[in-house]
């Protein structure tokens, strides 16, 4: 049954997935992705997965510490993810190259620190393929 938000008629809920290629604080598209995701949920749709790829893996870097008067995209994704049980997946191959590791990877690769933010998960490119197969819409936020 279609619902209304403002003056727009909303179609039955759809499953969206997002592919995010940009790092926070380098390109606006990283914050565009967050803004889009929030609106998708506000409009009553579902987010099947957010797949962070290329420089987008930096969205899950817990070491980032933006100035207080700038958006902290990692923190915002964490809050949104918790509120809506989002599947926030960081491509493991892209993350290794760019230095975003969980504890297990840091030990395996003999790196000094783990820095993957809570609420994000490292997984393979198959999760992007799976999102393509199981979402009604996939939107790319490139850099």
């Amino acid at each position: 049954m279609p619902r209304r938000a403002g003056h727009f008629t909303i179609w039955p809920p759809m499953k969206f997935s997002l592919a995010v290629y940009s790092a926070p604080h380098s390109a606006q598209s990283a914050s565009s992705a967050l803004r889009f995701a929030k609106t998708v949920l506000q409009q009553g749709h579902e987010i099947y997965r957010v797949f962070f790829y290329c420089d987008g893996v930096q969205n899950g870097n817990a070491t980032a510490a933006p100035p207080q008067d700038e958006i902290d995209l990692t923190a915002e994704w964490q809050v949104l993810g918790q509120q809506h049980q989002l599947d926030l997946v960081i491509c493991i191959a892209a993350a290794q190259r760019r230095g975003v590791l969980n504890q297990r990877e840091a030990e395996r690769l003999e790196r000094p620190a783990a820095n993957l933010a809570d609420g994000f998960e490292l997984a393979g490119l198959g999760q992007l393929t799976d999102a393509v197969a199981n979402s009604d819409r996939l939107i790319t936020f490139g850099s």
Binding site: A5, G6, F8, I10, W11, M14, F16, Y21, Q28, S29, S32, R35, F36, K38, T39, V40, Q42, Q43, H45, D136, R137, L138, I139, T140, F141, G142, S143
Partner: protein
Amino acid sequence: MTLHIVSKSPYTSSALKECLGAFASGDALLLIEDGTYVLRHPALETLQSAEIYCLEADAAARGQQQLAATMDRVEMINDARWVQLCTEHQPIVSWFR
């Protein structure tokens, strides 16, 4: 019908040009981020009958709001309408370089 999302400036990137080269009749164009500079670019004239949308917040950030107000052919939209456009179109193609 395809929704084409252009996010780069038409003056420095080939994104718009390549998007227009892959535009089918009935497709829609959405301008976001630096793509909102397309509002002032002559290439927009070549899209005679297509639906053209532009994210209002991204245009306003760049001082394009007055320009936008003068354009009948472009619908300025908020984020909710952006999501709705994505439900109404398939596929969605991002032109970000």
